[in-house]
Symmetry: C2
Amino acid sequence: MELSRTHQDLFELIAIPSISTLPEHKQDIMRAADWLKQYLVDSGIPTENIQFLHSPELDTEKHHPVVFGQLIANPNNPTVLVYGHYDVQPVDPIDQWQSDPFKAEVRDGFIYARGATDDKGQLMTQLAAVREFIAQAKAAGNELPLNFKFLIEGEEENGGENIEHIIKDPKFSELLKADICLVSDGPWVDPQHPTIEYGLRGITYAQINVRLADSDMHSGLFGGGVLNPINALTQILAQLQDRNTGKVLIPGFYDDVVDISDLERQKIAAVPYSEEQFLHDAKNAKAIWGEQGYSVAERTSARPTFDINGIWGGFQGVGAKTVIPATAHAKVSMRLVANQEPQKIFELLKNYVAQIALKEVDVEVELIHGGDAMLAPLDSPYIQKAAQALQETFGVDPVYARSGGSIPAIALMQSKLGVTPILLNYGFGDDGMHGPNERFSMQQFEKGIQANLKFLQLIS
Amino acid sequence: MELSRTHQDLFELIAIPSISTLPEHKQDIMRAADWLKQYLVDSGIPTENIQFLHSPELDTEKHHPVVFGQLIANPNNPTVLVYGHYDVQPVDPIDQWQSDPFKAEVRDGFIYARGATDDKGQLMTQLAAVREFIAQAKAAGNELPLNFKFLIEGEEENGGENIEHIIKDPKFSELLKADICLVSDGPWVDPQHPTIEYGLRGITYAQINVRLADSDMHSGLFGGGVLNPINALTQILAQLQDRNTGKVLIPGFYDDVVDISDLERQKIAAVPYSEEQFLHDAKNAKAIWGEQGYSVAERTSARPTFDINGIWGGFQGVGAKTVIPATAHAKVSMRLVANQEPQKIFELLKNYVAQIALKEVDVEVELIHGGDAMLAPLDSPYIQKAAQALQETFGVDPVYARSGGSIPAIALMQSKLGVTPILLNYGFGDDGMHGPNERFSMQQFEKGIQANLKFLQLIS
């Protein structure tokens, strides 16, 4: 494998400022998609099998194409769907970058650039591994023992609507059919431990609006005679979670939760992540807190939550204003775990709020968005092969982690396409994704390619 | 009594744009103070007995003078202290005025101008009555049966700091000594009912700050593992008031409350103010709500309250942001009634919050400001004479009202100077004080002078 060529490839892709949220980079988005198409062609994917997918329901001007390609050697062989994204975050604050974010620079063993780890660098560990895998089979004169599909989106950093519509659309389900979905788009738990991420949380995000009157009023003249909407809102919110046990109090909330198995508890407990480290990462949070009966690692990955993400109403300035506001509002979200359904959880929330809200104000609960949780089967042979590939490449047994975050596209692929998600990440926690001076370890890049290649060989 | 001259006087005073909050009107403030000084001289107050008071603790550039004057005919006679203010609110939005706010215009029996009702017009009902009272005594060749003091401030619309310091300062207590304090600066309960306002609520205004961490964090990665400061804040706030009974739950909160007497209940119930009218005035609030066991009139005037005047934290924009904020904040105020002490109530709040707050976040409670409640004795002979003066002037028995609002200067005069406050208002609820097209009924102006004069005659 000619690594220097692979580095060149990555640096070329990095040089295209494919920022998906900024309309002025639309051309760069298209250049990155074209670059990927050419890369796939050069890897041996027939040009006619490559297409830019658009959901028929969305405006192609506003939404960016999903680069799709396939190489079906033998329909009876396992099909690997490679998922990644070619778009990146904006680069603000630009003055905090030590080098040009779109000119990859290697310093102290790290590649510094926007997209270095999220996700161009990690995407290239997959694409380079597949290219090498195909090349080796061809060199040996063998039939390719695996089929490949590629699903590389251009708006992961901007809502991911296009891919979501495509995965949900029955018209595309045959095209996207696969056995496993291979993803490299995240960090290890720490730089010493190769990590298999086997779970992601789902989410239900809603807004609660409380309304008393047409406009604000004087708290001296009317205070005590009407139900202050902020008072009412805090009463509602306080009844959604037990302040002592940390349990969510919405009736039925836990009904569909898949309990943490003994095997999982062991694997989670085996991850070397101290409470000190957690608090440090949590911006020097004052203390650990959460649901009784679970460790902090379990609480933040394998258990559902209730968080108020925003709240506002009335006077927020300096000093005093004696006002009873007309309205008050809160954004709330519940991280979900398998098998909680976002829509069902929203209905439970809505019904419970309607039940507990005092009738002297109007209360409305609106869904902002929902996303499924993902939980890959830990006993899947694919997971076992992934662990073996990591062990053989890095010389260390991998740890198993459920992420507390949500990647709805992966959960959707599991639920709609029936694929087993295999998340083989190679980033580090301090790679600075989304921030200035984003970086990716050179060694992780190189060994990531080897590990992904090893995995493909092991499942062949 | 030559009314046309009195109208001219009022129109002259109105023509001085004495807006206390705008530094560019400092000269106008001084012109208004000088105008009042001359008015008092013309009324018979010796020039040497008139002075502009300044608290030695305050910057005279930033603070406006209190116009003080006195006429002591016989130290054994009752002393009437006339309180009012010569400053006015700004005139924004100026384009909504139908006539020049500083050129009084009479339309349909109303004087339209900034300060027409608040407080220049009502202040002049007092000053003109005193002038006439003095003139009549002089014409009859009698010794003046009352002593007069005047305390007319220039920053009532801008915090009232100067007068507050002066009343609290022992150096001024002999100078300000009086038996009653006469105030005309508010509305009747409705245009049909002369009103004696005998109570004002006090206030404790505080801010609660909850802090978790140095900066915001991702709710997916950390949600469930730390105590979200908004969750913590809503839990605290919800424990401060019973959502079913409306009672404030701070231990000791009601200890010093003076219960509503049977006499008061009757007088409050006699005020013709419907719940429909209340809801209309409360910006079409959805419903009546409040402390169990009390009528809406009692709740909004004679009972203490707990209101959250503002709340903020986290994301307040459109859509979703999955953040756990570093901090969350709320402004809270408690309207107080006699004999609750603002500082003591603050300590009770602070201690209770410290007790109920979860320890996994830092919680701070800071006092923004406090003000005493005022309650005039309903059985005072002065109140009875005031009622008689109103009855004889307007031909209708007056109603008795406690206001839910707070005028700390009047409460202070009662508590520090021992005066009995007599609030004889002549405004209407829809006079538009603080808004565009402020007005004052011409008839109320004229009869207000007569009623105040009658009152002075009755107590002589």
